[in-house]
Symmetry: C2
């Protein structure tokens, strides 16, 4: 890939916001080194962070913070350090992955709303279970979630546009629009036969996952049947899934030693 | 029927409240003379009103009012007056009859709720169409009603007790309880083989219909599948239907001339 195109791509993705270095690194480890036993050697991490236009000092500060927070453990092996997710960091990463890496076309066609009893108090547990509020006691039910005690499940056929809109997080509308726009431009700009080096692939995936992750984890994703095809969140989802499929995870061993 | 039992029955039904004489008379004409061409002769009306413990002067005042309101027309035929519902009065009476004389076990088992679009304004038309509000934009749908524009119909299976309670008019709970109690006692007290005279039947029916009418027309009756069997409104409904079936409409010609 021409280096100016890659530089442009990195800059665009980094200006979307929320680019704290420790958070970017959480995305990176979740994408490339989430498996039990996986880790990233110091030199490989340095190459990736440098390609992401992050200064070595900022990388060191972020690593320090992630170690203090119990996310990452670092271990000397001879002359080089090896950084791995801690069991705690791996657990949080694994919990988020089904949401981050979800197939935009997966999930049942069926959907339902749930009406709570009049004496039900709005509970955080419902939100944690993936429920999305429509009215004070009326929620969109996530397909796999269990029914709250005493609740009534309501089935319907085609969801009207206003209901699809009601399950979209209005407060993230601009962020999703910006992400879909940037990913759309990026996808257009990348030549169809673009072959990225291992480090470029690592950087591109990290930035795509990161910008996606910081939105998608802030709210409950609507059941597939309630997702509007026009919604920027859905368009971003498709672009994310396409890019991650087009540029599969590189082998870390290809990053450390090669010229790229 | 022993006259003290009958007197007791009339007194009990009349103390339930809302017993304005003109309103009682609307119930009477609706029950006995609603058909096109039907009418009640002055002497027959007098006998019924007297048996209902209403003074002749009060009857005259009520007749006067109903004539002024365009409900009733009076016509001299020789020496006696004949009173009939006007086309207007007959129309209003006919509109109310399906509700007043509804079979407590009729109607489909299916039921649904309806969710209005976010921009829908609460409209009187919905209430007039028989919809019952559950939440700001959520209504129980009457089986035969059409769907409001843009609304979403939601189906469910068994209605939980709290939903059945939600469609009962809480503000009429005491009135329905009093009516069910009085009708229950009355039903117990009437000997199984009680044979009422024509005028007694007319009076009993009128008072039963009247006390039922003044509650049942004040709110929308819930779809059958949402009616709680414990609800006093439902218990009163069954007692009303049983009494009206047990004591069919008398022939008006049996009232005017006979000793009873």
């Amino acid at each position: 890939m021409p280096s100016d195109v890659f530089t442009h791509t990195v800059a665009d993705l980094r200006t979307l916001g929320g680019q704290r270095v420790w958070s970017l690194m959480v995305s990176l480890f979740g994408d490339l080194a989430q498996a039990e036993g996986a880790g990233i050697d110091g030199p490989v991490l340095s190459r990736i962070m440098t390609a992401m236009q992050i200064r070595p000092e900022a990388t060191r500060v972020a690593l320090h913070r992630l170690r203090n927070d119990g996310w990452i453990a670092s271990e000397k092996r001879g002359r080089i350090s090896r950084h791995t997710l801690t069991p705690h960091g791996r657990k949080l990463s694994a919990e988020a992955s089904p949401v981050i890496y979800a197939d935009p076309y997966a999930g049942p066609e069926e959907w339902s709303l749930v009406l709570l009893p009049p004496d039900a108090t709005a509970s955080d547990a419902l939100g944690q279970a993936g429920y999305i509020q429509i009215l004070p006691r009326l929620y969109a039910k996530p397909p796999a979630a269990s029914l709250p005690a005493g609740a009534l499940e309501l089935q319907a056929k085609d969801a009207p546009p206003w209901l699809r809109e009601a399950v979209e997080p209005a407060w993230l509308a601009e962020d999703y629009a910006a992400l879909a726009r940037t990913l759309g431009e990026l996808t257009e700009r990348l030549p169809r036969d673009a072959s990225l080096s291992a480090v470029e692939t690592a950087v591109l995936r990290c930035l795509v996952v990161h910008n996606w992750r910081r939105l998608v984890l802030k709210h409950n994703w609507p059941p597939r049947a309630l997702v509007s095809l026009d919604w920027a969140g859905h368009r971003a989802h498709i672009l994310v899934a396409d890019l991650l499929q087009r540029f599969p995870r590189p082998s870390l061993s290809d990053i450390g030693c090669s010229r790229n």
